[in-house]
Every structure is written in C-alpha cells, then in structure tokens.
Symmetry: D2
Subunit: 360 residues, 4 copies
C-alpha cells in the first residue's frame, strides 16, 4: 500500500519524477463554489524558485500549472481538480554516472532496496521536484481556509548557526517574501545570504529551521485521539524531504518547564475564551483552541556536496563520488512555501472533517 | 470524520472514556498464525503503572485485557481482535467540581467547543486512560515485528533538567525496566526520582523526554512521498497526550551541521551495505536503510497541578481552580510503553504495507 | 488489509465470532448531540429473532447490547461508540464434528485457504452472528438520518416461489413487523409460513428476496464517480451473508425497456423538481434526486440442510456429511433488519460526506 | 468527502470532464517490476470505440494514453503511475442549449442539487467519458493479475429482448472481440445489430446485459466481513454509468432453489478441492474458492433519445426537450471493457490485500 495521497476529505494525490515528462496531481474533495485565483497560485509557485545567491547552476523551471479539470467558470465544481506541471529543464545526462552508485544520505540505496530498481535520473520520485505538486494543493487549500479567515505564514528562522531569535509576534511577516532567504528580518537575512555564499565556495551545504504560524484558526479543529492537530501537522511536515524535527508550541523547551509555568491560563476577552500565554501552540487535547497555531521544523543540510565522498555501488564495490549536477547550498528558503502548503492542506482537511462533528 | 483508528493495514480502532464502564479496541489486519503471548501482553500493560515515588494518590488499575475475538488456540486467526479493559477504580465524584470549569492546558474547553458538550468525568475521552488501548495494540504489533527480528526500546532520557547524555549505544537498555522512572542509568534514575519527590512537595509537575530506538529494521520499509517512516512515526508519537516535539536522527541538531559532516557514508560490511554514521536515524528518502531507527520526543509538564490557578467556566465567568483528584507529578515514565506501542504499530503497518511493494 | 470496517465518515468496525465470549463493534464518526433511544435499539435487535415456524431448535440469544463509551447523559458525545453483545447460548460441541470437514457452500474451505486455519465453532467469523453488530450500527444510523426525515423500510417480497407482486406504494409497511416472515401482506405471509414448515419437514432450506425503500431522501447524496449511491448500497448489501444479487430501481427489467419508456420525466410539483415515474430508483448519476430510493436483493437458500451430503475434509478425503446444529430453514425474514441496517449506514455516511460538498 | 478513488492497495484516482482539455488518473500501489505492455493497453482502449452500426454521429476519440510517471525502462517502478488522455473531439456548442435544462434520467439536476452549479458541457463529470480512465487502470490491473494467471472476460449477453442463453462454458470467448456488439455468438450478434439499427430509426435507445467471468482465481481472495469479493465487485460494477443490477453466481435465480439443489458439493480432483457445480459463482463466505468467478450486470437504456420529451429547467419552468448531440443507441458493447477493467482492478486490489493475510 503506497503513500502518494495526503489528507482524508481534502485529499491530494501526487505523481511524477524529477526527469519524467511531467509531474502533477489530483485534488479530490475540494468543495464546489470556491473561486480559484490563478494569479495567487502562480505567485505561490514562484516562491519555490532558488535563492539568487546560490542559483547560478540551479535548475530553473517555469513551473506553470496546467489545470485539467474540476474548475468551471473560475470556480471549483466539486469534481476532482487534475493538474500537471511539465518538466522543461531536464538534463538527465547529468545523472548517468549515478546509475549504479548510491549517493550518501540520498534515497538511491533505499529505493533500490524497496523496489528492486529505480529511476536514477535526478533522484526520480525522491527528488524535491515532487514538492511543486504540494504547493499547488496548498494553494487551493489556502484559498479554501482563507474563506474562514485562516492565514498561514512560514519563514526561515535559522540557517546554519545564523538564528533569528525575535518572537514571531514582533516581526513583520510581510517582509518574508522580499527576502532572498525568506527571513522577515533584514539584518539576519543578510547574514544568512553571506553564510550561503561562503558555504558555496567551500563546496559544502547548510541546514536550517522554518517557523510557521497559522492565525485565525477557529476552535474545534482536530480529531482525537489519533488525528490530533499536532499529529496531522507533524506527519505533513515530516513528510517533506530533509526534515528531521518538528515541535509545536513550547516544543522541546517544555521539558524543563514546570506545570505552573507552562499552563496557559484562560480568561474572558471580549466575550471569548482566550489564553494569557500560548505554550500549547494553539492546541489542547489535539483540538484547536482558537489561539495561533505555531510550530518549528528542522531541515538537515543538503546531501549533495561538491566534495569527494567515499561510497559504494550496487555491485558492492567501494567508489569515490564527486558531486555533480545542479544543486542548492541550502534548500530551506525554497521549503517555506512547501511548509505553508502542507500546513494549509492539514487545516483544510481538518476544517472539512469538523463539519460532521456535531449534529446540526 | 473522526480519528479513532490508527494504521492502514495493521489498524487499531480505539474507544473508551476515563470513567465509563470499559475502554477497548479492535485490531484489524493482524495476519493469521501469529502466536499470541498473553504473558508478554500482561507485562506490557504492567509498564503503564505509576511511579512509586508519586503514586500514593494515583489511580491503580489492574488493566487486565480481556480478548473477545480473533484468537483461537493461542494464535491470531486473521479475524479482527476485539478486546476490552474494564475501568475498575473510577471515582467520578472527584470530577463533579469540573463539570462547568475549563482547566488550564486541559482539553475541557476544546472538547466543548468541538462537540457542544462533554463527558467531564476524569477527562473523558481526552484522558490518558485511552493509551492503555494503544499498549495492547502495540503488544500485538511487537509480537508481529518480533517475528522479523525487529525490537523496539524506549527509555526516559530526561525529566525536568535532569538529563541522560550517554548515547544509547553505550547503555544497557535491559536496565530500563528495573528503573522506577524508566531510565536505564542508575545514577540519573536516582536524580530523577529525587526531582519528582521534590516537585511533588511543591505541588508542581514535570515534563521530560523519551528516547526510542528500533533495531534490526529491514531496509525497504516506508511509503513515499507522504507516508515516509519519519512521517508516520511523527504522527504516531505526536498523537500521544502531552507530546510537544519529535525529532529523528540528528533532529534539530542537524540545523547547524554542514552536509559534509552530516552525510552518512556508505560502506560494505559482511557483504551488506551499511553506513559509517547514522545521523539520518535509519531512514533515507523516507525508507528504512537497515540501520537503527531512533528518535526523541518531548513531553510537556502535567497540566494538573496542586496549586491555585485562575481560569474560566462555561458561563464566561472567572473562577479560581484548586487541583484535586489523583494525578502524577510526571507521566513521562508511564509514557515509555506508549511510545514503544505506537512505534511498534507504525513498523508493523509499514512492514505489512511493504509486502506489496514489489512483484513477487 | 482486512475488511472489518464499513463506511467512511460514519464508520462501523466489527469484531467477533459465533462462539467466542462476545461480539461487538465501534461506531466512529457519529456526530455529537444525537439522542440515543435505547428502547429503539432494543427493538431493532429484537427483529433478528428467528421465525417461530422454524425456531424450535434455533439459537436464542437475548442479544442485549452493552454500550461502553461515546454516550453521555443520553446523547452521543462525538467519541467512538464501543459496544459488545455477549454470546450466551453457545453450544460449541455441536460443531466438533466439523473441525476437519468442509461443509458445502459454507466458508470452511475458503477461510482455511485464506488464513491457514480457522475457528470452526459455529462458523466462527463467517457466521451470520456477526450481523447483530451491523444492526447496532444501523440503529444508530437510523436515529441519525431520522433527524433529517429519512426512513428505511425493508420487507420480505419472496420466499422460494411465493412472491409478493403488489408494488410497495400500495402496501402498508407498518404490517411488516407483525408478520412472522416479515412480509407486509397477510395472505402471502401465511403462504410463506406454510412453505417454510413444509420445507422444514423435507430437511431442506429456502432462499428469498428482500425489498427495501428509503423515503424522504434529500437530493444531493452520493459521491461520483466511484462512490455513487447505488455502488455504496450494492457493496453494503452484497456484504451480507447469502446475498447473491442486487438491483436498484428498474434493475434487470431495464434491459428490455426502451429509453423512451425508461426515462423518468421531470415536472415541477409544489415548487419542487420531481419525476413522474421512478425507474431510476431515486438516483441519477449516482446522486439522490429526492425521490424514493428502492432496491431488491436476492438471498440464496441456507447452506446447512438436514440431509446427507457428499463432501471432503482437510486431509483430502471424501466424507459424508449429515446436517446438525441449530439452523433456520429460511433466514430471509431475519435478514430484513440487516438490510435496513446496512442501508441506514450507507445513507448516514453519504449524508455526513455531503456536508463538505459545497462551500458554505 | 468525495469519491474519485477506487481500491485500497491498487488504487485508481480519476479526474476529468467530458469537455475539458483532458481526462486522466493516477494509479498508486502498483508493485514495482511489472512489465508494462503498451500495445496491450492501446488495444484495451480501442475496445471502447463505438459500434459501427450506430457510430455515424458519435464522438471519435483517438484515446491515446500518455503516461507521465511511474514507468521506467518498460517496467513499473513502484511510484504512482500518472497518465492523461486528451479530449480532442470536443464540440461544446452542442450542449449550450442544455445549460439551464435538466435532461430526464441524466445527472444534470442532481449535480446541480449537490454542487450548486455544474459544468454542463457534454455531461461534465457525469459523462461516460470518465470511464476511459477506468480502462487504463484496468489494463494495468490485468497485467498484474495476469502474472498470477487470472483472466477476465466479459461479453454482451443481451441487448433489449435479444438474449444469448448459451452458458459461458460453451462459448468461444475469443469471438467477442470480433463482434461489433461484443457478443461471442455470431447469430445473436447479428440479431443485436439489427435491433440497434431498427431502434436508431425510431430515435429510441436500448439497454442490455453484460456477463463477466474470471478464470484461474486463486482461492483465498476477499476480505470479510465487509469487503467480500462479491461486495467489492458489486460496488465496482454498480459505479459504472447506467448499471441497474448485479448478480453473482446463481443470482436472483437462487431465490427459487432449495438448499439441496443450490449447494456446490466439494470433491477432490487432481489433489485439489473443487466443486461439482458453481452456483456460488466462485465465492464462499466472501472469499474466492478457486472456481470461476462469474456475474451479470444490467444496463438501462441510454437516456438521450432523439424524441421530444417534457422536462423542466433550473428556473422551475416546463420545457420541451429535443435530443441533440452525438449519442449511442446502445452503450452496452462499449461497456464491456469497462466491466472488465473494474473487475480486474477489484481482483488486483484483493490479490495485493491478500499478501498480508497470513504470517509468512
């Protein structure tokens, strides 16, 4: 039983390899009557473009989404939304030397272990190329939850050891889009760009952290006991290539807090139940409580480096591997729209699931 | 669409409230012919018992599992395995004062927001009581994956600021079971117990961290691109009450590592492809690579404290809340078998899913 | 991947063998706030009792449903509804002689082929005993769809060659409950009872047909292109033991009709779009059109006969089998509540699914 | 929760409207290593072409399948198989007059009731055009189950009142492909063709029956208690446009049979357990017994007729409708590959599901 569908009611099924003719997907379960803002979708796709400080040799895809169904006269019809994105800038010959070699910390070996053989061109299905499909699903999901006022914002909060420590509430998140590295703080942005340039010269790569917040979430989303908000978000985020960690609210910091410090006290504000602090990250018992949902996620450094590495091939021989092809020093800025997309799909799905929670 | 089932092929569906007549579940998809070791299951359930240093006032359940179906002559038949655990030590009157009050950092408010009303007795469905059902599912899963040699071991690696820093490979994990706080290091164990006693006197509570490792995992488990090993594990673990974070392999530490440091180089050992390091935590591209799978998870401090707290009630009034009832200072030791259970179910499910990966 | 769950949002998971300690199930996805009428559920269970003209030697179960969760102060809470029904009248020794023999047209051989061994007592999981669990699920589903006015009524329209030809619209369906054989026509009922008595003397068994109609179905239920109303109903009904056929609306008769005869013309009646005829059986394009949904289903004769039959055993030997145990001549009257239950669950599920069809 | 996916492990998700740019789908869960015979798939698609005796005005699609992923060097890779079929012969203007009118026995009214508005061009999602996607899924499924020797053969057994009564065992099913009306008997074929021509002149339409048999099914497929072979087949077949009935084995005829007549006696033949008759249609207790699985299905007459019909429009007005556009007199011959496709997908799915039935 394969795993290329995401979501229960709002469901994205994805296909496509890095160097095939096209990638694409089907969104099933989008309610009818949603106005589809194609310009918005185009801008979301744009966000996946590489960082200019590193992109000289990087793949440049136009990433034009072609919608094939489920939309009529500018609105979703309730039928499945099928779409494709052509792979236009494919240089498969770059990968011929990897046909029989397992790159360290890549999926070459495991795909072959699982499936017996693999499409070795550009990482095949394991390429981050597939995340473009997620961004399309996320864009539609954002339009859907946007109708209920929900808003998803992610940004880069750390690259290597350059860390943004300002709390999200004190940042102007509108700045994220203007930053090459998708960090809303100009000064930290510049430091991150410098670090990327420097690391590029070393032929090495960097990891980072993305922070994400969802505002205006209604209380009552989340399906205990297994499909809690944080469980669904964790799955969504940990399914993104290179992610190694996820924490919601206080996260790992909660370990050293006492209950009396960590508890978010309730109060009534403008007739609504709110909390004075938000260590929980907007979820209690797996259900949203109406406060901001926020979380952090860790990305490991890019596995493809421009240095020699010892490795093995499929014949059980030792080989020396030299990094080739087009690769980013740091993918974290490009992962911002993907984190947002996965988050939006989780919330769209949980919102639609919540419609049958109560007798109406 | 509710969320009380876990898994795709090996699937546990759970029911039950803290103060109802019984909790229980159905395991569907366990293959036939598995020898059911009832004594092993009993011991797994035993692990959920409270820590003696804190348990004076805690609920003591015998937690005897009554199997009702799916087992014949000591083996699974392939039919669904139904089971119940009676709730024998129920003191609902302890909770009457909470009928209309929302406890801070509890699920009272969110359940009411979602469902319109709630079973307020003992936390109802949001009680950690439901995790006993998970342990039963996990015990059967352990027996199943045990047939393939896989072994799941979790232990407490931190309580409050008392942290075990020894790498898991240098610990004797057999010691975990003998530790009151489920920490395999005797000295750290003692420190943790002291901290618990001390915090109990303060009327406060503690969080902690659990470390988990799975050994002898065959390569090839995991279903990209959404149901990657780490994604399924993250969902499983983040669905446990009080969990705020999850990291696999290098986790959040990977952020500050370079690619050249983080890459796990392959080599051939005894004719098998292995890695020299294991920062990936046993997964590449979402698929197990045959190395140990290991992860950490953060538990927030228990929400019920024995101190006065300001809160609100369902009528929108401010109230002062005094902690009552039977509660633990730190639930992390009791969560060890739950972490193991969820992990075992993920691996059982991914193992069964992998059976249709290749033409045979 | 086993198959003991039914439904997508309103979902019943079932367990239990004929001669185990209990059967039971979990209903997940029932919205909160539904008033649970326990007396109604008791009456639904009652309908499964055997026909008196044949029941002298039949198993008599009290079939008391014990609800264990998901209901509080008389209403569903949104949590899973767990329940068990004890097996009280079990005579396993009746089946010892079948331990190694495959009864003709029973599931003995196929369960053994599939699972390697089987619980041979009373048919194990293949026994019609499991349908009691469906009736519980169906009773809750009826309460749910009853809130929207929907009403499910099934009756026996044929036993052997005794056939009720009066259209359902001309029958008083209130009479069904008072008929031993669950046929709303008194005269035909008497003929059916005679036929059963007669056939009992022969040691033989009978098949039959059940007709089912759902009234007051809102238009808009059904999920094309695969989960059409008729597809979901067909699956539901064909999953009942002994069912060999299903037809909706004009069914097999439609084969000989011309389009001009078969088309149901629309007209406006009291401001609503209705049809002049209803050959479609209330569905167009897989979606309910607001007219009655009606269908027929065929039950084969009971496989256990009181005559000698040639068969084989698990050692590949020929054996002569003599019918023993407690069995019905005709199970069709007892299947009426099961057909209703499955139908109600399909409609409850499709109703809840429809809540996310349109942007609201 | 929408319904555009079919299957559990071998899963087809479908998209596309009659008059959009393309239709297509994603097959997820096809095991890796399956040799993809593109010429075979082309021939399967060919079978959907219209009957020459009626096709003068019918739509002619080349129906070339473009595979976009999941296949590498001629074999399935285990990744999802995405594909599209362009809509090349679209005449949307033919449908402008139907924008606001509900055609009798079409899905116009119900789609609008469900979704609020509809893509009225050519029936939109409700068009039989979507079945081309099913044929692609079925072709891959046939290749998969073909590896285990299973073979699916369907043919037209009745059109209007012209009925083929010869049992399938006495027919040469190789002849089906050569018959314009997909009936393996030449004489009956000719009668069917005459009837179609005649009915075309009347401006009327015809229904029919399709018979389907699956040979060489291993025993042990099917997942009780809800996902029995016959339940899954019934859902699959009843999800095809215009299907009104399904019966397996003895079907509705079983109603009038006695148990002593209907029971299929076992015997040992060449060391294997076989049955002397096959009224069960190859399933016992919902699990295949190794005998042929066979069933029949009823198709209603085509709804679009070339005669005047009274109807209503969306404004609640009476209108007179004159049939226009390109339509078949009888779609049953074109439905043969669709019945085969759905059947093959059910068996592929149940086969893959069976791989985890037993401990291995």
């Amino acid at each position: 039983m394969a795993g290329n569908s995401f979501g229960h009611i709002f469901k994205l099924t994805s296909f496509g390899e890095s160097h095939g003719p096209a990638i694409g997907g089907i969104i099933d379960g989008c309610p009818s009557g949603l106005v589809i803002d194609f310009e918005f979708i185009r801008r979301e796709m744009e966000k996946r473009r590489p960082v200019s400080s590193q992109h000289s040799s990087s793949r440049l895809e136009a990433d034009t989404v072609e919608f094939l169904s489920g939309i009529f006269e500018g609105k979703s019809t309730g039928a499945p939304i099928g779409f494709i994105i052509n792979n236009t800038d494919v240089k498969s010959e770059d990968y011929l030397h990897l046909k029989e070699t397992y790159r360290p910390s890549h999926a070459d070996f495991t795909y072959e272990a699982k499936y017996g053989f693999r499409d070795y061109r550009g990482g095949g299905r394991a390429s981050a190329r597939e995340t473009a499909v997620r961004v399309v699903g996320g864009a539609i999901a954002k339009l859907l939850i946007g109708q209920k006022g929900m808003q998803v914002s992610a940004y880069v909060s750390q690259i290597g050891n350059v860390k943004l420590t300002t709390p999200y509430g004190e940042l102007d998140l509108e700045n994220t889009i203007h930053s090459e590295v998708k960090c809303p703080d100009k000064k930290i942005s510049a430091q991150m760009e410098s670090l990327i340039k420097e690391t590029k010269l070393e032929g090495d790569t960097l990891g980072g952290e993305i922070f994400c917040v969802v505002k205006n979430v209604p209380s009552g989303l989340g399906e205990p006991v297994f499909d809690k908000v944080e469980a669904e978000l964790a799955k969504a985020i940990m399914s993104i290539n290179a992610v190694k960690g996820f924490e919601i609210g206080s996260g790992f910091k909660s370990i050293c807090m006492k209950g009396s410090e960590h508890n978010d006290l309730f109060e009534i504000k403008n007739g609504k139940v709110v909390t004075l602090s938000n260590f929980s990250g907007g979820v209690l018992g797996g259900i949203s409580n109406g406060q901001d949902i926020y979380f952090k996620t860790a990305f490991k450094p890019v596995a493809t480096i421009m240095k020699e590495q010892a490795s093995v091939n499929k014949f059980g021989e030792n080989v020396i591997l030299q990094g080739k092809g087009r690769h980013d020093v740091c993918v974290v800025p490009r992962a911002v729209p993907i984190v947002e997309a996965m988050t939006a799909m989780v919330l769209a799905d949980l919102y639609l699931r919540s419609l049958s929670s109560k007798i109406t």
